[in-house]
């Protein structure tokens, strides 16, 4: 079954970020190799000195563009960026990223809730990036978020699922898709997130800075799919063996 977000279906549950790639060619190959159907991009002032090629040309038209609000330090700035992104004509899917912390790049959950409310009110499809907190996740859903995107660990740290137990709680309690974002450094970590029931994973730095980005992108695509299949197969739980004697329930079988 595909992943459904805001009426769109995604058959590939690996999302790719497009930042930090050494070359646009790397990016294009990585998108193709992973089979990803949704990528994040950012909005920046045009570099007036160096004429950069526009990133959109390297992204196939069939891939959904998710514009992030990176740079926003509060909800108002996120809204401004979202409006600019919409004016670009590439759709109105926004990944809310509100970070007022240059040391750890941790998202501001409260501003993210505010931003979600504001953007949903203006008709954006909102995918908020957040620190896994169940109360906040509930507020985001209430505010109209299409998914919730908890961080696995700090952006760019490759530490995988440091927040695993708390992500699991979101998976169990929140009814919109859970997309694990940030800190996914290895395909095995992506598989791990999918095995425990995440709906999708997003990786960027790992792929962009790999020796061979396209290969790693392909690996991520495969690992994500493998993890999803494993989850659907209902992994057998490891069981301890019972003794021959049954002190707790033996009485139920006595004549």
């Amino acid at each position: 079954m595909p992943l459904a977000i805001a009426g769109k279906e995604f058959h590939n549950r690996f999302f790719l970020g497009t930042g930090k790639f050494r070359s646009k060619a790397d990016l294009a190959e990585s998108i193709a190799a992973s089979g990803t159907e949704i990528v994040t991009v950012a909005l920046r002032r045009i570099d007036l000195e160096h004429h950069e090629e526009n990133i959109v040309e390297y992204i196939p038209k069939s891939v959904t563009l998710l514009v992030n609000t990176s740079g926003a330090r509060n909800a108002q700035e996120a809204l401004r960026i979202a409006r600019l992104a919409k004016a670009s004509g590439y759709g109105n899917w926004i990944k809310i990223e509100v970070i007022n912390d240059s040391k750890y790049l941790l998202p501001d959950n409260y501003e993210t809730i505010k931003a979600t409310e504001m953007l949903v009110a203006e008709g954006f499809i909102v995918l908020p990036y957040m620190f896994p907190d169940l109360y906040v996740a509930r507020e985001l859903v209430k505010a109209g978020a299409a998914t919730v995107m908890p961080l696995g660990s700090l952006i760019g740290s490759h530490q995988g699922l440091k927040a695993k137990e708390f992500i699991k709680i979101l998976i169990d309690e929140i009814d919109v898709p859970i997309v694990v974002d940030a800190g996914i450094g290895r395909p095995s970590q992506a598989a791990e997130a999918m095995e425990m029931g995440a709906d999708a994973v997003l990786a960027n730095t790992a792929v962009a800075t790999a020796g061979n980005p396209a290969h790693l992108a392909q690996a991520f695509g495969l690992a994500t799919a493998a993890g999803r299949l494993a989850y659907l197969s209902k992994l057998p739980s490891s069981q301890s063996h019972a003794d021959a004697s049954s002190p707790l329930t033996g009485f139920l079988f006595e004549q």
Partner: protein
């Protein structure tokens, strides 16, 4: 005439329309988003719109990001 362009002071010819400016400074005018004094200006209006002295102009576009 002086405006602030992408955060920096920039001297420009007062006769220039937004379209002229975009074409002068950007390689890919089609990809540019224009925000003048905090308001987004649509593509269709670039030809008719001129900037004033002291205006703040932002020319942005989509780039790689996580």
């Amino acid at each position: 005439m002086n405006i602030t362009l992408n955060g920096r002071p920039q001297e420009i010819n007062p006769a220039m329309t937004l379209r002229n400016l975009v074409e002068q400074f950007c390689k890919n005018p089609a990809q540019v988003i224009v925000e003048l004094n905090g308001t987004i200006i649509k593509n269709e209006q670039w030809g008719s719109r001129k900037v004033q002295d002291g205006d703040t102009l932002e020319l942005v576009n989509l780039v790689g990001g996580g």
